[in-house]
């Protein structure tokens, strides 16, 4: 029996710097950054006071007042991205068996922003240890258990197949899509609405990353604060956003003449079993994930045209993954453009893996590799071609995208241009 193949036929993105795929690609291909001084709350007490915020008007993006009331911001972003993806796919959802449509939404920190705000209310700004239930909003349970995100997306598209939230820290966005691919391959669904969303720009998140000095204190120059692979980098810039895809089984997509952006040819996730936040410099477990993803795609490392890196801009990460690329791709790693869009849209935790899949697919679509912005001073320990500052026209038919997350998760995905002949 031949394996069922899975393709992306619809994309939706809500990211800093622009809502919708078109605006997102314009930002990336223009090498512009969407990081800025925090405006969502007064950041004075924090060590890091920059973030990649979205100017998001839920109502203008089609959400009803009831939807806005009951959903955390991250759920709102996911639903808006899902609707764009569904429209983009041209798939007539009403004609499908709803049981054959599933949903996977990745999120690292769920409704953190909603929980932070509501805790402040019911605790009277931390004064009450026994928090007051009479002040709680009725939808607080949807914040407690973020499977509500998958529920909202499933309702929005009419999906009644397998649905779940995938929450593997900062690899959630890759793992959610990887999970969806597995469901289609094994025959549990024919269509999956898969992606990720996080909206963590909130005092508790800033405080927890301050505490481990993971976010950058480059507060005087917010537009250039996210500097992956640059020798002067000193931490990541927190972001927010969502990307959601329509995934279909290839044969079905072909039958209906759909535009197939990319095939998800290989995916794997491994654990470093080392440390909840730290990374060993050798990148061995990420390399293992890459090797397994390539094997699943039945490809060699030298067939990869572009690497969309995790590139968070922490010293540890950038060296870790540089080592992993060399381990898996050998000399070809030196000939392959590598870039981090976190330099432009920040690090939206669990969402970014899906946003980076979108960037990877668009790179193939346009044969343009997005740059690593703010990369002026090379770090001798990061010695690959990181596409500094400006986008590059580049024949791109196969992309490797990777992620690395707290908890030790390491994930890799291989995306290819679907070949006509098969």
């Amino acid at each position: 029996m031949t394996r069922r193949r899975v393709v992306i036929t619809g994309i939706g993105v809500v990211a800093p710097g622009g809502i919708g795929v078109k605006n997102f690609w314009s930002l990336l291909s223009g090498g512009r950054t969407a990081t800025r001084g925090i405006t969502f709350f007064d950041p004075a007490q924090f060590r890091s006071r920059v973030a990649a915020e979205i100017d998001f008007d839920a109502e203008a993006n089609g959400l009803s007042p009831q939807e806005i009331r009951r959903m955390d911001r991250a759920a709102q972003l996911a639903v808006v991205a899902a609707r764009e993806a569904v429209e983009d796919s041209g798939l007539a959802f009403g004609d499908l068996d709803p049981y054959r449509i599933g949903t996977t939404i990745g999120s690292a920190v769920g409704a953190t922003t909603g929980l932070d705000q509501e805790y402040r209310v019911v605790s009277d700004s931390g004064r009450l240890e026994l928090v007051d239930h009479t002040y709680a909003v009725p939808h607080l349970y949807n914040y407690l258990v973020p499977s509500s995100f998958a529920a909202e997306v499933a309702w929005a598209v009419g999906a009644e197949g397998p649905s779940t939230v995938v929450s593997t820290g900062c690899t959630s966005g890759l793992d959610s899509v990887g999970h969806a691919v597995e469901l289609i391959r094994e025959g549990s669904a024919d269509v999956m609405i898969a992606g990720a969303s996080d909206a963590p720009i909130s005092p508790i998140t800033m405080a927890c990353f301050d505490a481990i000095k993971a976010t950058t204190p480059r507060n005087d120059d917010p537009e250039h604060a996210s500097r992956p692979f640059d020798g002067t980098r000193n931490g990541f810039v927190l972001g927010e956003g969502s990307a959601v895809f329509v995934l279909e089984e290839l044969a079905g997509a072909r039958r209906r003449g759909a535009h197939t952006y990319a095939e998800i040819a290989g995916y794997a996730s491994r654990c470093n079993a080392f440390h909840m936040t730290g990374l060993r410099p050798d990148g061995a477990e990420m390399a293992e994930a890459i090797d397994v993803a390539l094997a699943e795609a039945r490809m060699n490392g030298d067939e990869i045209d572009y690497i969309n890196a995790h590139g968070s801009g922490t010293k540890q990460n950038d060296r870790h993954e540089t080592a992993a690329f060399k381990k898996s791709l050998g000399d070809h790693a030196y000939r392959t453009p590598v870039s981090s869009i976190k330099s432009m849209v920040g690090h939206s935790l669990g969402a970014i893996g899906s946003i980076e899949i979108a960037a990877s697919v668009l790179a193939m679509e346009h044969h343009v590799v997005p740059p690593t912005a703010n990369l002026h001073t090379p770090d001798p320990q990061c010695d690959l071609d990181y596409v500094p500052l400006t986008a590059r026209e580049w024949a791109t038919d196969a992309v490797l995208t990777v992620g690395s997350g707290f908890g030790g998760f390491q994930s890799a995905m291989v995306l290819t241009r679907p070949k006509r002949s098969v």
């Binding site: 505490a211 481990i212 000095k213 440390h275 909840m276 936040t277 730290g278």
Partner: protein, 88 residues
Amino acid sequence: MSKQFTLDDLKRILLEGAGADESVDLDADILDLGLEELGYESLALLETASRIEREYGISLDEVELTHTLTPRELIDAVNTCLTPSAAA
């Protein structure tokens, strides 16, 4: 009179904030061992430093929390911050 930061203070804060590895005896002569040898990795050091900062009202931003840092070096660094002349 300035407060002094002692090994006992450090041991108390380490235990509160990061526990102790079962194979390590904090009551042995540990002053010149690396904190990593004592089972404390980067997170434990960050938690410990931040607990010291809060309790003593100082900033240890300038102290590099490397894995080779010893209890003696950390205690000295804290006491330097606690000395009034250093703050002047």
